[in-house]
C-alpha cells in the first residue's frame, strides 16, 4: 500500500579498538550518498511536526529536500537562518527527544524517524561559507554577552545579524563553554567547536577572553558600558554526593576530570602540562550524558574496568541511548539500582573501596520517575581506586556575590520571564543552564534565540 519507505541509514562509526586508543570522533558522519538516501526518506509532510519539535525551529523539511536534490548551498542557508551552530547541534542535540521524536515516520510500524540530526551535521560539515548581511554593525547599540557557551554564542550571532555591536566575555581562553570543557572530542571534535563558535567573529562579534564577569570585572561596569547584557554563564558548579569519604584522594567531580582532559588537554600529558589521574578500577556515579562522557574518557585514558553506578534502573537513565550503546560497545560496565553510601580510603587517604547499598524502585517522585529506596541490609563493598561523580550541576556561586541586585530562585539560578529571558534588572537578560539548571545545548540555544529577540525589541525602544 502506497510508498515503500527504506530503512534509516546507519551512522558509520570508528572501529571500537581504534576508539579506545584515541580521542578521534566515534561517529564519522554520512557520505554524500548516505545523506541523499536518508534525505529521500522524508515524507515532506505539510504539517511539519519536526519544526515545532526543534527548540530553535529550523525549517527541517526544506533543508532535507535540498539535500535530496544536492542543493547544499540552499540547505545550508535554511539551517543558518535558525541555527548558528549546525555542526555542533547535529552532533550533540538529543534529536530522539525533539525533532525526530515527532517525525511522522516514527509513528509508523517498524519505521524509524528521518535522521534529522545526522543530515544537519552532514550539511554543516560541508562548511559552506555563510552569507552575511550586507552591512554589519548598523546600529550604535552595544550588547555585552557574559559567557561564550551555546546560549551566549546564539544571542551574539542573532544580535550581530540584526546590526547590533556585540562583545562576548568568556572566562576561559577559548570560546565554546561546555562544548569545549565538557563534551569530549570523541563526541564533538574541538576544531569543530572552535571553528563554529569563533566563526561568529566574521559577523563582527568581539571576544574578550579570560575575563570572569562578577569577579575579574565588576558586573556594574559591564551594565554601565553597554545598552543591554545577556548572562549565559552555565550551571557552573558541580553537585557532589557529600557521602563520607568525598574528599579522599582520587574522588573527582566529572567537571574536574573532564575540564582537565577537554579544556586543558590532559590526555596529552606530559606533552601538555595539566595532569589527570587514571586508575585501574574506576567507578562513575550517575547515568546522564556527562556520566557516559566521563566513563568513556576514563576508558580511553587506560582504566581497565570502568563501572557506571546508578541508583535507578536502565529505564530511568537520562543519558542518550546512542551514548549508552557506545559506552557498552567500549566495554563500560553498568551497575543499576546501586547507591554509593561511603568511600573508603587507605592509609594515604587514597580511595580504595566504595560501600554501596542496593536499591529498589518505589512509587514515582516529583520527577515522575520511580523513587529509588534502599534495601535494608543490602550493603556491599566494591573495590575501586578512583571515583568520578557525575550527578548533576548546581548554580554558579559567582551569582551570589558577583551580580548584586539580580534576583535568583531558591536554588540559586537566575529568575527570568520565560517568554523573554528578562531578569528583574532593566536591560539584563539571561538564558541557558544558569536559568534552567543543567539542560541541553539546543535548549540553551533556544533560550538564546528568545532573548536575542527580546533584547532587539528592547534596544529599539530606547
Amino acid at each position: 500500500m502506497g510508498v515503500r519507505i527504506a530503512d534509516r541509514v546507519g551512522m558509520p562509526e570508528l572501529d571500537v579498538n581504534r576508539r579506545l586508543k584515541s580521542f578521534e570522533e566515534v561517529a564519522t558522519g554520512y557520505t554524500e550518498e548516505m545523506a541523499i538516501a536518508e534525505a529521500s526518506r522524508c515524507l515532506q509532510c505539510p504539517t511539519k511536526p519536526c519544526v515545532s519539535g526543534c527548540p530553535v525551529g529550523i525549517d527541517i523539511p526544506t533543508f532535507i529536500k535540498d539535500v535530496k536534490n544536492r542543493n547544499y548551498e540552499s540547505a545550508s542557508r535554511t539551517i543558518f537562518a535558525s541555527n548558528n551552530l549546525p555542526r555542533i547541534c547535529g552532533r550533540v542535540c538529543p534529536q530522539e527527544k525533539q525533532c525526530e521524536a515527532v517525525c511522522v515516520l516514527s509513528k509508523m510500524k517498524d519505521k524509524e524517524p528521518v535522521a534529522i540530526g545526522r543530515l544537519e551535521r552532514f550539511v554543516g560539515d560541508l562548511q559552506i561559507e555563510r552569507e552575511m548581511p550586507g552591512s554589519l554593525q548598523t546600529s550604535k547599540r552595544r550588547v555585552a554577552v557574559v559567557g561564550g557557551g551555546p546560549a551566549g554564542i546564539t544571542v551574539a550571532a542573532d544580535l550581530a545579524t540584526k546590526g547590533y555591536r556585540v562583545t562576548i566575555y568568556e572566562a576561559f581562553h577559548t570560546m565554546g563553554g561546555v562544548l569545549v570543557y565538557g563534551i569530549p572530542a570523541f563526541r564533538l571534535p574541538k576544531d569543530t567547536v572552535v571553528d563554529e563558535a569563533e566563526g561568529i567573529a566574521s559577523m563582527g562579534v568581539e571576544f574578550v577572553r579570560s575575563q570572569v564577569i562578577g569577579r575579574t570585572l565588576p558586573f556594574q561596569e559591564i551594565r554601565d558600558d553597554y545598552d543591554a547584557v545577556f548572562i549565559g554563564i552555565g550551571a557552573g558548579a558541580p553537585r557532589l554526593s557529600g557521602v563520607p569519604g568525598s574528599n579522599l584522594n582520587n574522588v573527582f567531580s566529572a567537571s574536574e576530570f573532564l575540564t582537565r582532559v577537554n579544556l586543558l588537554n590532559a590526555w596529552q600529558f606530559p606533552e601538555y602540562d595539566t595532569p589527570v589521574v587514571v586508575k585501574r578500577n574506576v567507578a562513575v556515579i550517575g547515568a546522564g550524558n556527562v556520566t557516559m562522557d566521563a566513563a568513556r574518557t576514563a576508558k580511553r585514558l587506560g582504566a581497565e574496568n570502568v563501572t557506571v553506578v546508578y541508583r535507578r534502573s536502565e529505564q530511568e537513565m537520562p543519558a542518550r541511548r546512542e551514548e549508552y550503546l557506545h559506552a557498552i560497545e567500549e566495554g563500560i560496565d553498568f551497575k543499576w539500582l546501586t547507591l554509593p553510601t561511603e568511600y573508603i580510603g587507605d592509609i594515604n587517604n587514597n580511595v580504595s573501596a566504595m560501600r554501596c547499598a542496593r536499591m529498589e524502585l518505589g512509587p514515582p517522585d516529583e520527577s515522575g520517575r520511580r523513587r529509588p529506596e534502599k534495601v535494608d541490609g543490602s550493603e556491599f563493598d566494591m573495590e575501586i581506586e578512583m571515583v568520578i561523580e557525575a550527578i548533576g550541576q548546581k548554580a554558579n556561586t559567582v551569582l551570589r556575590y558577583g551580580f548584586p541586585g539580580l534576583e535568583l530562585n531558591p536554588w540559586g539560578f537566575i529568575k527570568t520571564v520565560e517568554e523573554t529571558g528578562l531578569t528583574n534588572l532593566e536591560g539584563v537578560y539571561a538564558g541557558g543552564d544558569i536559568v534552567t539548571g543543567a539542560a541541553t545545548v539546543i535548549e540553551a540555544m533556544g533560550a538564546g534565540k528568545k532573548a536575542a529577540e527580546s533584547i532587539s525589541k528592547y534596544l529599539d525602544s530606547l
Partner: protein, 279 residues
Amino acid sequence: MSHKILAKRRLSPRLYEFWLASETIPKYAKPGQFLIIRIDKKGERIPLTIVETSQGKVKIIVKCIGKSTFQLAMLDEGTELAEVVGPLGNSSDIRDYGHVCVIGGGVGIAPLLPTARALSAAGNTVTSILGAASSEQLILLEEFEELSDDLILMTDDGSAGKKGLVTDALESLLEEKKVDQLWAIGPAVMMKFVSAIAADRDIPCWVSLNTIMVDGTGMCGACRAEVNGEIRFACVDGPEFDGRNVNWNELIKRQFQYADLESAALKRFEEEVGDLSWV
C-alpha cells in the same frame, strides 16, 4: 590584552619575583585575592596570590617546585604569557581587630604582604613573624619592617633572627601579649600548627589555603577542603578560612594527589632543558 613579563628578579635560589602586564587586575585586586596564569598554549593553570599591584602591572612571587614554575623562572623579560586571569577569590577580611599577629612561612611571606599592609593601614597593631629555612629565603623584610609594629624573624638554621619555628615565636609572643586575631600563610603544615595554637587559645586565625586548583571559578571542586565539617571550595568560598575549622590532615594528603605525575613532568623537563640547579 598584553600579559607580558615586564620584569623578573631572582630573590634567592628557586625564588623569583615577576611584574606582569595587566590592564584590569590592578584596578580591582584587593588583599588576599589571587590570579591564574597559563604560560603557553600547552600550559596548566597556575594559581598565585597577588603580592602587589601598580598601574598596568601586577606582582607575583613564585617558588620553583614543579615543571611549570621552573619553566616560568627561565622565561625572559618581554615574554608574552598565554593567559593571566584575575583577581579571583575573596579578599581578606580587613578591619580593626586591635592587635593582629601575621605569620608568613617561606614563599607564604609574599601573599601575606598586601593583607598585612592593609591591616596596618586599618589601624591594627601588627606583629609580624616571618620564618624560612635560612636567611636567603626570608623575603620582603624591608616591606614588613615598614608596616610592622614588631617584626620577629625565625630560621631553621639560625642564619637570621632566631633559630626555630614560627610557632615557637608565636608561643612566646602569646605568653607576653594578648593577640586578637591571627593570620597565617605558608606551608600547610605550618598553618596547621598555628591553627592548633589558635584553637588552644581561642584566637580567630585566618589562613590562606593553597589547594590544587583547575579553573579557579568554582566550576570543578578540585580545590575543595573540609571546613567546619562541610565541603568548601578554596577558589570561590576562600581562599581564606578560619584555620581552626580546617581538616588539615585531609588537606595535606590531598596536596599529594598528583605528586607522581608532577615529578614525572619535572624529570622530563630536566631531560629536555638540562640541569636545573642554577635556577
